[in-house]
Symmetry: C2
Subunit: 247 residues, 2 copies
DNA sequence: AAATAAATTTTTGTGCACAATAATTGACAT
DNA sequence: ATGTCAATTATTGTGCACAAAAATTTATTT
């Protein structure tokens, strides 16, 4: 792992989630999380404790808690005695995660449509403008992050810390999934969909809002290639398949 | 805290959840969790590290991780430099938790109705028999635990580790909520409701299954007293209210 | 006696040394 | 070469001593 990948942040730190770690540790969590979600570190990458401790200039004791915390978000996998790696959700897990997102986000959309106000709508529109801007600038990292954060923003506006907390975990995992199974760059949410959802919320139409959310989530899932086994073995087949067939 | 409360378990250990702690630690987690969920330790109770270390005969280092793990489940609250206490979900959090449960469990019921098989139905009926039995024996602890576990069983049978994991957290919190806000003993699920749900699943009727689940969850929530502030101040008022009024 | 402050005790937080385990390298045999 | 085994190196896991903070007790002042 290269230090470059982890400290390269210019932008704002995630900083959401229920703060129960010391602030210093939380910022390391956020940094690593951001790096993973922007796909600067690939799934499967080893996250050595000593290496991280050096990079961030904190003790191993702390790194250890950081890794534990990230593992609770299912963003890193902790293998006993073998260290931490960036998680690689399986194809089955990917489906389950989308299933869970459907359940939760339809409810959020429905609930929000019933009680949304002016200022919330403004905040949403502002966010989507930022998404459009990132896309225009071809800043795909930012675009990926913002499109995930749109969904988190909806959860926050719905006023349930419980649901936001759950969705945070699911959105993080979705980023990993898109990195693993999404072929073309179009995999991340289209901000146009987000605009439509906002319009439905604006017209206080719960049915429409949730229907659009469903379409949107299904669209994202459909851009993925969730047919075969994990990435690695797939590559081997596509590389050696023809040679083996000739035999 | 009395050691009695924590080691008194005769029954089976929870043992679900994604095991990423050493098995020894996991069993301490399960023991404390069980004690909390069966309401043998009240919300707000201090969980001193040294005390727990002595009770369970493990080092403080380990207890520390155990408490961290329980805090991720929102079952204990970790107050920096002030130690851990059993969590007391606020009235608002309680509502949010039920909202989340509705979103998730309706989806589970719907999905399960479409794909449930013979053996799954048998397992569910067996579970409900155990519930009825516990009720008949007036073993309210067991009854509380089993009625929560029925919901977890549904999630497991639905085949999504993601949803089960989320629901586990929510069910744990629900136990705390019932302990805090549920006045009469009838607060825990009636197993009769569970039977009805099973029947709907049996007849592969997704609409009915989810409708019954909704009723069931709303019934539980409605037995709670979620009007006022946290427990303590409420008690003080109900104790001193009349005296103050006389003045 | 009530309130404030100082001193003491208790409890939580952290780094570090060492133990346990896994990964790597090298030697040897087939 | 290829595979197996031993020795070495590197990495993770844990207890403990000490630091930091909070809670409690005692002393002091008004």
């Amino acid at each position: 792992m290269h230090a470059q990948n982890l400290v390269d942040q210019n932008a704002i730190i995630e900083s959401s989630s229920t703060a129960l770690l010391p602030t210093e540790e939380q910022s390391v969590v956020d940094l690593i999380l951001k790096a993973i979600l922007e796909q600067r570190i690939a799934p499967g990458t080893k996250l050595g404790e000593e290496a991280l401790a050096n990079i961030f200039g904190v003790s191993r004791t702390r790194i250890r808690r950081v890794l534990l915390s990230l593992s609770h978000r299912y963003v890193v996998e902790l293998r006993p005695n073998r260290g931490a790696i960036v998680a690689s959700p399986s194809e089955q897990e990917a489906r389950n995660i989308f299933e869970a997102r459907r359940a939760i986000e339809l409810a959020i959309a429905k609930g929000l449509a019933k009680q949304i106000g002016r200022s919330e709508l403004a905040e949403l529109r502002k966010h989507v403008r930022a998404e459009a801007d990132a896309r225009k600038r071809a800043d795909s990292r930012e675009a990926i992050r913002l499109s995930g954060e749109f969904h988190l923003l909806l959860a926050r506006l719905a006023g349930s810390k419980t649901l936001s907390g759950i969705l945070e975990t699911l959105v993080s995992q979705t980023s990993l999934i898109i990195g693993l199974y999404g072929h073309r760059h179009g995999s991340s949410c289209a901000y146009e969909d987000h605009e439509e959802i906002i319009n439905a919320l604006n017209s206080k139409d719960p049915q429409k809002a949730s229907a659009l959310m469903l379409d949107h989530l299904e669209k994202i899932e459909s851009t993925l290639d969730l047919t075969p086994e994990p990435t690695m073995s797939q590559d081997l087949h596509s590389i050696f398949g023809q040679i083996a067939a000739k035999d």
